[in-house]
Symmetry: C2
Subunit: 127 residues, 2 copies
């Protein structure tokens, strides 16, 4: 496992939330778990762009941060279920707010993001 080489800043609330929510797929994991997709294979299907490996890593961090619990059923084939803790559930309305804003501004967001990418591609081409 990767060992941190610097201590994070934990001054204000925004530092703290960054520590638990940073990670490309974490918000989505919380969201889908809340929607009832509890098993790793289901989550993987919902988030096909992430590899299984990364999902495991990020789920582990969510677990360490007490946002989700992991239950391993001793059956074969293996069965694992994730669930939100109360702490994790308290985050859902916050994530919903993020999602609503993004949905409300989807077109504009897509625009500015693509514009930036295309622009830098052009710069690259003119080198």
């Amino acid at each position: 496992m990767y060992e941190r080489k610097t201590i994070p800043n934990l001054n204000c609330g925004l530092d703290l939330i960054g520590e638990v929510l940073y990670g490309k797929w974490k918000i989505r994991l919380l969201w889908f778990i809340d929607r009832g997709h509890k098993r790793p294979s289901e989550l993987q299907r919902k988030i096909p762009d992430a590899t299984r490996r990364v999902l495991n890593v990020q789920l582990k961090e969510l677990e360490d941060h007490e946002l989700v619990t992991k239950t391993i059923y001793p059956v074969v084939p293996p069965k694992v279920e994730y669930e939100l803790t109360d702490f994790g559930k308290s985050l859902i309305p916050v994530i919903a707010t993020l999602g609503e804003w993004a949905d409300d501004h989807e077109d504009r967001l897509r625009n500015v993001i693509l514009k930036q990418i295309v622009t830098s591609d052009l710069e690259q081409a003119s080198d």
Copy 2:
């Protein structure tokens, strides 16, 4: 400047919001600009843990994403002011929601984050 080597996923709203809000200091920059700290030197004072360089880089991205505008006054010594666009302003309530959640759970957050760091330090020590 760094050239992207992969295209980002832009499937859902959460992908989109990630593209514009990822960046260690971006949320704070938006927040402080909204609170009236418009000049680079003020922002730097509010966010002393970030270097001036990173703030410039992230402010540039916020500008590219049309969340802030930058005004350069042709005076000496130089004067620059950032302001939120309407698009940027629409994000403030969302950021406020994040901040409130973090403030409400500050102690617990600090706990779980520190616990994880201490734990990995112990593992390191026992190697």
